[in-house]
């Protein structure tokens, strides 16, 4: 197989409690020991509950955050230690769509300028008119009218801003796109248009996606492989079809079972479930306090992936 366009080797991030937090806070291990390869034309989804470290992982592989451990490779080249300056010309390779579109757009820049930013850096020879034409085209494929080009971010709706973020990432034709909840603000119809568009571009250009989403019906549609994160670690990874059909980690099973209902008649009185409020176990398997199948030896588990597939002493299904 070709060499991966993106690799993470045991990456980790600790946010240390600083200054006045020193006394009360503990260091936050937001991400620990995450590894994956991503090949051209492939989609790897990262799923997991709120706060499990998905966005932090994305920012680490984008080199927007300094990893505390591990190594990151773009197109086979290690970028872990490179300075922001050295990275700049290489950023054409990998682009990101951010989770909070409003926070990622400069409120004082016109839309076309924000979208054209990458072009200015990576294709400085283009004339202003050429840049504007490229922006119009990028906006159009994201379902946005070019008449909006000269407006400011606050003049758009939430879903429109999310699509502006996608246009901005696509415009310089990267090989890898890191998408952090790219369609969460979109209604089902526009969401379907964008997902179809992403698949289309992938087929045509062999783009690779690192696709972060909490919406499993979307992930099911998009991803060939899945990494399930819990408490900053990957607890299960594998082919999407296998993971959906036969989850091995109890957390994955719980995640798959928590489906939204499809009709008001399915409402139940007590919509609460044991879960998020339990937090993580401090020692042993991080999931054990929430796990329906926990046994004594789970208290001694080191949370490391077994056979590169599942981090559980008692997986629910046998490994294939």
């Amino acid at each position: 197989m070709n060499r991966p366009v993106l690799q993470a080797h045991g990456i980790g991030k600790v946010f240390s409690a600083e200054g006045m937090f020193r006394a009360i806070g503990k260091d936050k291990h937001a991400v620990a020991d995450v590894s994956f390869d991503l090949h051209a034309g492939e989609t790897l989804a990262i799923v997991g509950e709120s706060g499990s470290g998905k966005s932090t992982t994305a920012r680490l592989v984008m080199r927007l955050l300094e990893p505390s451990a591990g190594r990151v490779f773009w197109d086979g080249e290690e970028v872990t230690a490179l300075s922001a300056h050295a990275l700049r010309p290489m950023r054409r390779h990998i682009q990101m769509v951010f989770q909070d579109p409003f926070a990622s757009l400069n409120p004082r820049m016109r839309i076309w300028q924000s979208v054209a930013e990458g072009l200015r850096v990576h294709q400085p020879d283009l004339s202003r008119q050429e840049r504007r034409d490229r922006v119009a085209e990028a906006l159009d494929i994201c379902g946005l009218d070019e008449s909006g080009m000269d407006r400011y971010p606050h003049q758009f709706s939430g879903g429109q801003r999310q699509r502006i973020g996608i246009a901005r990432a696509l415009i310089i034709e990267p090989k890898v796109l890191v998408l952090d909840e790219p369609v969460s603000a979109l209604d089902v119809s526009v969401q379907a248009q964008i997902l179809n568009l992403l698949k289309d571009i992938q087929d045509k250009r062999g783009l690779a996606y690192l696709f972060i989403s909490h919406d499993l019906s979307v992930v099911r549609h998009m991803a060939g492989r899945i990494s399930v994160m819990f408490g900053g670690r990957v607890v299960e990874q594998g082919k999407a079809a296998d993971v959906f059909a036969a989850p091995m980690h109890p957390y994955t099973e719980a995640l798959l079972q928590a489906r939204p209902i499809a009709h008001p008649a399915e409402r139940t009185q007590a919509a609460t479930s044991k879960g998020a409020d339990e937090g993580l176990a401090e020692t042993g398997c991080a999931f054990r306090t929430r796990c329906a199948y926990t046994r004594e030896d789970c208290a001694g588990f080191d949370n490391v992936l077994q056979h590169d597939t599942v981090a559980c002493l008692h997986p629910l299904h046998q490994q294939k």
Binding site: M20, E49, S50, D145, G148, G159, H214, S217, R220, P260
Partner: protein, 322 residues
């Protein structure tokens, strides 16, 4: 009761006032949940923000209609009452958390400020309330969280902080604009349970702007579907799910990803929502409607009563009830 009456709003585009919301009427009663759905860019947030008169700061102008809070027009309210209403009687959960959180203040100071602005509590009491609110929305380590700045929070944590902030002053109404987009299903269920509790016990009225039909199915009593600045269909939730009348509502429901087959292209409504100023003369959905007929381009359909008293659709050719 919160009533939006025949409300039209215009936005300013290149110096021109252009209508973006047209004659919208909605009623939110205490103890009920009203869902507002529709494609991106059809005017949901503009409508929701009008309830707190927030659009005025973004160049949005009211051209007709009124909004009544317990019978009193919010447009004739003195500034002081308006300030007390916002976050006090009526609270808002914004679509994008970072538009509402200030990055230079800690979560604690922002949350405690809202609490003290509206409730007669001292600092320590307000702090206790803040801690319990954060626990209610399922956030761990609330003590630590109070000291953190918005940037140190994940997307879903920020969204839950906003929900906690909206509940801070025990409002009578919450206007929640896509409040759960960043939340996984199990956290979402927790928030749903929490809001349902408030609704039952305290008669909270909730207006829920969402594109998530799962959330609509879980929470809403009534649903209004918006297209190109207009309400095109409204009715009780079960009736909307079982007998969607407007071709737009039907098309929208067919696009849900869980409806499609894995590996196949997802169903879409071809074309896009026209921008304000580019609306069709007759039925605004006609240019994208599969069932369009000649007269659709001419006549402006009124919101006809259909099927039963409460279920209405703005379509000249509502299919026969089956």
């Amino acid at each position: 009761m919160l009533e939006i009456h025949d409300l039209s709003l215009s936005v300013s585009i290149q110096g021109q006032l252009v209508e973006a919301v047209s004659a919208v009427s909605l009623t939110l009663e205490p103890g009920r949940v009203l869902g507002l759905v529709g494609e991106s860019g059809c005017g949901k947030s503009l409508t929701a923000q009008a309830v707190l008169r927030l659009g005025e700061y973004q160049g949005v102008t009211r051209t007709q209609g009124d909004i009544l809070l317990d019978g009193q027009s919010i447009f004739s309210m003195p500034d002081e009452s308006l300030r007390r209403m916002r976050g006090g009687k009526v609270a808002m959960v914004f679509q994008e958390p970072m538009t509402a959180l200030n990055p230079v203040f800690s979560i604690g100071s922002q949350l405690i400020e809202v609490i003290r602005l509206h409730l007669d509590l001292d600092k320590a009491q307000a702090r206790t309330r803040a801690l319990s609110l954060l626990g209610d929305v399922g956030l761990q380590d609330a003590e630590m969280l109070l000291r953190q700045y918005p940037n140190a929070l994940s997307g879903g944590m920020r969204q839950r902080v906003l929900i906690a902030m909206a509940m801070a002053a025990d409002p009578d109404y919450i206007i929640a604009d896509e409040p759960t987009t960043a939340l996984d299903v199990s956290v979402q269920k927790r928030i749903i349970a929490l809001l349902r509790g408030l609704q039952r016990e305290r008669g909270l009225g909730l207006m829920l702007v969402t594109h998530d039909f799962g959330l609509v199915a879980e929470m809403c009593d009534d649903v209004a579907v918006m297209y190109a600045g207009q309400i095109v269909e409204s009715g009780p939730v079960a009736s909307i799910f079982d007998r969607p009348a407007h071709p737009y509502t039907r098309a929208l429901m067919a696009c849900r990803p869980e409806v499609g087959e894995v590996g196949e292209a997802l169903q879409v409504i071809p074309g896009q929502v026209p921008a304000p100023g580019n609306w069709a003369k007759g039925c605004r959905f006609a240019p994208r409607c599969e069932l369009v007929r000649d007269d659709c381009q001419l006549a402006v359909p009124a919101a006809e009563r259909w099927h039963d008293g409460a279920h209405a659709a703005r379509c000249l050719h509502v299919p026969e009830a089956s």
